[in-house]
């Protein structure tokens, strides 16, 4: 057993941290937030030039064949700097499933472009039911000759409006059981397809989400990812990786908020002394540290299990529930300790505060995760 990262991983972290600090200061984060697309093509290009888009893509497709843990390290550092953009979406929800379930042709078509930073993907899973389970999928795909026709509405789809392709989860057969896991298929849908309409809206986390309406959208059969009707295991794996990636992003942000707050407490003076000298302030900072450390532990332990292919549904759900709530509490305490300034638009704390709530909701909120855990422990 070994809790340490490899030297290479530590180097990757250092260079990622340097990059994020230098290339994505809070000022730029705010600019990007205000922009239509919610990401910066220049920044995206720079990241691609560093090889980040190809980090987990096999060498044969133009990547460097890194591990899932490497990817998480990167995402943790992006979380630390609130770096906006469709990285998680394109890599974790796009590249990884294509690598896992794609045909040779699909890999050939998509992976090199992703690796070069020339393609953005978005996962079109959730619908107006706002749930993350198989049974809630109502968008349907009907086969007709060599193609499928998709109809229905997806909602809360992050970055769909700037994506080149949407990975759409659709029902290709009515499910016989209540859980609806049977009969789902995945499609790589060209975002420029006729009949596809994306309407973005703003959210607390500053990531644009979209309503995506499929109105007789035609997808060639070769764009089906994985087996017909048996798409759920791919989705499930994607959701677990997405959840852990969101945990990584959260713990990056959480650690930064702890550091910011501790530093501020040592500097801010009230009643003639630094507020760091008040016991209640110290104890609140201790709680923040404890949340950050425990969230980080359990995240990487679950991530490791996931990347080793070990059973990990309980660990992933536990990590997601705990890291989400930890991030929320940390940002809340951090804002409180900063005083009123922590609640202003100009202060960086708000960036984290808002992302913490968004992270909680992504890939299943704590109630959803607790239900997963309940099933896993035999309830």
């Amino acid at each position: 057993m070994n809790i340490a990262f490899t030297e290479e991983q530590e180097m990757l972290r250092t260079s990622a941290r340097d990059f994020v600090e230098k290339e994505c200061p809070a000022r730029l984060v705010r600019q990007i937030e205000e922009s239509e697309g919610g990401y910066s093509p220049e920044l995206w290009r720079k990241m691609a030039d560093l090889g980040w888009m190809g980090l987990v893509i096999p060498e044969e497709y133009g990547g460097v064949g890194g591990s899932f843990l490497d990817l998480l390290l990167l995402i943790e550092e992006m979380g630390r700097g609130c770096l906006p953009g469709p990285f998680l979406s394109t890599l974790v929800l796009g590249a990884l499933p294509i690598m896992a379930a794609g045909t040779a042709e699909q890999k050939e078509e998509f992976l090199p472009k992703i690796a070069q930073g020339e393609m953005i993907l978005a996962l079109a899973l959730t619908e107006p039911s706002a749930r993350w389970d198989a049974a809630s999928i109502a968008v349907g795909a009907v086969s007709e000759k060599e193609q499928y026709i998709i109809n229905g509405t997806k909602l809360f789809i992050e970055y769909a409006h700037i994506a080149d392709y949407l990975l759409c989860v659709a029902r290709t057969k009515d499910a016989p059981t209540g859980r609806g896991e049977d009969g789902l298929s995945l499609f790589l849908v060209d975002a420029r397809s006729p009949g596809l309409k994306c309407t973005p809206f703003k959210t607390i986390g500053s990531v644009p989400q979209c309503e995506v309406v499929f109105d007789n959208v035609v997808v060639p059969a070769k764009n089906m990812l994985g087996e017909r009707d048996r798409g759920w295991p791919v989705v499930k794996d994607m959701l677990e990786r997405g959840a852990i990636a969101k945990c990584a992003e959260s713990i990056g942000g959480a650690r930064q908020v702890v550091e910011m707050t501790v530093a501020y407490a040592k500097e801010r003076v009230a009643y003639g002394r630094t507020i760091a000298s008040f016991q209640t302030v110290q104890h609140m900072c201790v709680s923040m540290l404890s949340y950050a450390d425990t969230a980080r532990n359990i995240t990487y332990e679950a991530a490791w299990r996931l990347s080793e292919g070990l059973p990990c549904a309980k660990q992933v759900a536990s990590a997601k529930a705990w890291a989400s709530e930890a991030y929320e509490r940390i940002t809340k305490m951090g804002a409180h300790l900063h005083g009123a300034i922590g609640f202003t638009r100009d202060h960086d704390l708000g960036l984290y505060y808002r992302r913490a709530k968004a992270a909680t909701l992504a890939f299943g909120d704590p109630d959803h995760q607790r239900e997963v855990v309940a099933r896993e422990i035999g309830l």
């Binding site: 959210t203 003076v269 609640f343 202003t344 638009r345 968004a358």
Partner: protein, 399 residues
């Protein structure tokens, strides 16, 4: 012990309800019933002023004022009944800073001349008032403030910076605390002033946006701002005692959050009955029932605390720590409430105002960002606990 409303109180409540039912028909589209409505947009502020004038005409702004200043010397309970009706309707018109904070302070501490100048427009609902107390380096520790006021002829000349001044961008009057004796440390050597912003040169107002992007607060800069000497309230260098009496009013009047939560709760109950997520309405889900019921309980507790405070005040026995306890409870409830609602709304709750997918016009998305700020405003949670510890439990000053 008797918690019954008198027949007069019942009748008054009905009158208020009818009045606000009518008034709120004219509320701007997207009216949410929170403080943001009043301070964030011109349209909202105009509506507030319109309602304020109507309230002024009815005499409802000044019920608890002494008769000699146009009040009715009504009980605090009577006033609370009015404020509850207003809160339940999400109606504006009652300027807490003016009617609730400045006016009682002036009545107690100001000269007749100042009272005659400032009280009538407040009573008529013609003006709004803002509080220039906090500074970038004097928040919880207000006594650390450094804004200077120097005597010069018939005036005081002010220099310095204030911040977290709610609604300064729409306000007419302002009350300020500044240092008149720089030789004295902390709370000694401070003085309290009231001023008409339109008549005060050297005043600059700059917006401070809240986390969610609303414009509630301002920075206020005094650059050789001149205020006539007669605008001093209370004695020179003894302004801290004027501040303290105002704080009590502020803290005891902040129970509005409890009523605001109750207003939101009612809407939420209806929403949960009408909204399916999965196979059944949210209202049938045990976790939703559990959470909303807990909120209903905590609102009930908070409401009971408000009435206790009003009754104690009517008996002339409102200890400082009771006002702090009520402020503390209400602000923490407000935060928990905002959290609970977000738990229930899920992904929808995170959608920002402006999208058709945002339930309640996005109210809770911004409340989630605003509510915890009230655990800092008007004395942070820690400050309130210190007050209660020292005044309510007779503990020593903590290390």
């Amino acid at each position: 012990m008797d918690f019954r409303f008198t027949p007069e109180q019942e009748a008054a409540r009905e009158e208020y309800d009818a009045f606000f039912d009518e008034v709120m028909k004219e509320a701007p589209e997207n009216w949410l019933g929170t403080l943001e409505d009043v301070y964030s947009t011109k349209e909202g502020n105009d509506f507030h002023r319109r309602v304020a004038r109507m309230l002024g005409e009815k005499g409802w702004l000044t019920m608890v004022w002494p008769k000699e200043y146009g009040g009715q010397e009504a009980t605090r309970v009577a006033q609370l009944i009015f404020l509850e009706s207003m809160g339940e309707h999400g109606a504006p018109g009652y300027d807490t800073q003016g009617v609730g904070m400045l006016a009682p302070t002036l009545i107690r501490h100001a000269s007749e001349e100042i009272k005659r100048e400032f009280l009538p427009p407040i009573a008529r609902g013609e003006v709004t008032v803002c509080q220039a107390w906090s500074e970038p380096n004097a928040g919880s520790d207000l006594a650390a403030l450094t804004t200077r006021a120097v005597e010069d002829g018939d005036d005081f000349v002010l220099n310095g910076q204030k911040t977290w001044t709610s609604g300064a961008h729409f306000a007419d009057f302002m009350y300020v605390i500044a240092r008149t004796n720089p030789e004295e440390l902390r709370h000694r050597g401070l003085s309290y002033f009231v001023l008409n912003m339109k008549e005060t040169p050297g005043l600059t107002i700059r917006p401070v946006l809240s986390m969610d992007g609303h414009h509630l607060w301002d920075e206020v800069f005094f650059d050789d701002a001149r205020i006539p000497k007669r605008n001093l309230v209370g004695e020179k260098n003894r302004g801290w005692y004027v501040v303290l009496s105002g704080m009590e009013h502020e803290r005891s009047s902040l129970g509005g959050w409890v009523i605001e939560c109750n207003q939101h709760l009612k809407k939420l109950v209806q929403f949960c009955q009408e909204t399916n997520r999965g196979s059944e309405p949210l209202a049938k889900k045990p976790l939703v029932r559990h959470r909303l019921a807990q909120m209903a309980i905590e609102i009930e507790v908070g409401r009971s605390l408000q009435y206790r405070l009003a009754m104690l005040a009517d008996q002339g026995a409102l200890p400082m720590h009771e006002a702090s306890a009520a402020k503390l409870y209400a602000s923490e409830l407000y935060t928990r409430f905002s959290e609970t609602v977000m738990e229930i709304l899920g992904l929808y709750g995170a959608v920002t105002h402006g999208s058709k997918w945002a339930p309640f016009l996005g109210t809770f998305e911004f409340l989630y960002q605003m509510a915890p700020g009230w655990e800092l405003a008007a004395g942070s949670t820690e400050v309130q606990k210190n007050v209660i510890a020292q005044w309510g439990l007779e503990f020593p000053r903590p290390y």
